[in-house]
Symmetry: C2
Subunit: 364 residues, 2 copies
Amino acid sequence: MDARKYASMSDPFPMWRGGALHGARIAYETWGTLNAARDNALLLFTGLSPPAHAASSPADPSHGWWQGMVGPGLAIDTERYFVICVNSLGSCFGSTGPASINPATGKPYRLTFPDLSVEDIARAGFETVRRLGIERLDTVMGPSLGGMVVLAYAAQFPGAAQRLVCISGTAAAAPFAIALRSIQREAITHDPDWKGGNYSAERPPLTGQRLARKLGTVTYRSAAEWAQRFGREPIREDMRKRGDAFASEFAIQGYLEALAQRFVNVFDANCYLYISRAMDRFDLAAHGDPVTLLRRAALSAALVIGVQTDLLFSLSEQQAIARNLEAAGIITRFASLPCLEGHDAFLIDLETFGREIGAFLRSG
Amino acid sequence: MDARKYASMSDPFPMWRGGALHGARIAYETWGTLNAARDNALLLFTGLSPPAHAASSPADPSHGWWQGMVGPGLAIDTERYFVICVNSLGSCFGSTGPASINPATGKPYRLTFPDLSVEDIARAGFETVRRLGIERLDTVMGPSLGGMVVLAYAAQFPGAAQRLVCISGTAAAAPFAIALRSIQREAITHDPDWKGGNYSAERPPLTGQRLARKLGTVTYRSAAEWAQRFGREPIREDMRKRGDAFASEFAIQGYLEALAQRFVNVFDANCYLYISRAMDRFDLAAHGDPVTLLRRAALSAALVIGVQTDLLFSLSEQQAIARNLEAAGIITRFASLPCLEGHDAFLIDLETFGREIGAFLRSG
């Protein structure tokens, strides 16, 4: 079952760093009902890897990536809001990206896909909203990469959203995050199976992708959480590989392996590389003075959430975003959360995040 | 120029997890003079990768890994102490390890080297000290891996040291550190050039080693330090690789690459794997109740230093060590340092570390 709908992008679709796409589309899902005034829409951008399926719906009852957060009576209340979640441009869950067929050649783009920027992901969301006949969003929201995209959205499309929710995002990738992401990309591009991006469907660069995902997972959590959750527990007997001198010995290693296996079977390696690089390159200041930009965005209110244990998008980065929003005269709530789960806390501690997000949305 | 001396190990040298070495030796360097009472010796263990060359000396005037810390009038004052620094058993800078020739076969051990444990590194240091005619150390000291080794030393050789200095160590590897180290090992063992440990001298698994070292470097530092030091500075023009779609773009990437290149040219991949795994496996509690062990060690005083920004050996791990030392009735100073440089701070912030170490040593 599939709840995805598709929005055609403008043709040509101009890319922020040059080049253009033809016949591009965005996969999205919606929950709730757009009201007659068309002013109750909430656009949700995702992190690096999720699809548009944020929550279950009659058309797709499977659990979504933010199940428990989006739904009737939940923090993002679909009885009140018409919620749209887009699969990012450049991803591989229905939206156009490096794994899509280039209509000019009939073959997958692969590395001929133009440079992807956070700005392009924002524009693709903006066009999706316009195709739905919505002039102005009630709220534009996103966690992680999505938290960068909402800032690019506000900078590029003044007046296109009334409120903004930036969760564990950043206005400019920090060198620590760049270092960690670039090691992940290097693990993929140095896998002999990557073949300069021209891997076969039967033999993608799984080793590099598994390493990249494991490292990603480590950076999305925190040492304190794992100490509590795994300690020095040995790996499950059935996951132990005999005859391999350096085989996994601890439960944490088995956990990373299981998550990595699940990921590499669904996510395209080139798409991962493109989105990862786009995150490194993002810098809101490239659009001008952040305070001026945010003032021009004409937002009425903003919520910025950061997590104290986040290694990848540090709390000081969320503070900087909140400070600029306030300096731009926007009523801003900055929530510094003590969750143990690090960057991924928004996916796990739904109670704490739901309380913040729900209170903010109800206050409007 | 070479200041190394060599100590022959007992033959057989029993390994803690089984097996034995024959004809093993430890490379070490010394500074200062052993007094007539033979009671002014300070044994220094290293982190994962340094050689025994902690500081310059007439025999080897090149800078050592703790240059500025060890020397006449410095925090580890070689006018007062006879300082011995050992290259860890299992390493590749003169001590016996997986890259050494197995006397039974005339060929390098490689993966036929027996399982290496932190306990074996401690024993090799202990035997080196005995060969020098020293019954009891004034102080046993070590940072990082060395901070684990000093605990194994105290547990295995009661009465062999009067004082202990544990710097950014741990009494048991945490799951977060295990996760990060196991990804590093996987990067090496999945490099096709590793060949199950049987790589040629001409073609070692450089890609895997480079990735491993880059990841290691990231975990040894902190996000705050890099934000301050590198920000979003672009990579130096001469380090930019044209024609590579995912080439490095930021200064931080160039920095990681330069450090990694330097490392892979000197450190043997199998030695790295063995020592890295030994760190994961270390758990002081395997020897019994830590407080009982430490009481039996008959230490008079201890210094435990941790760094608040350390990602890999968290402050709470240092606190736990200090708590157990105190519970064992040992006069313990616990220093929680606010240095920005993370786990590697002991190598960089010599002023702050020197103050703590110097004050502790002088107090004895």
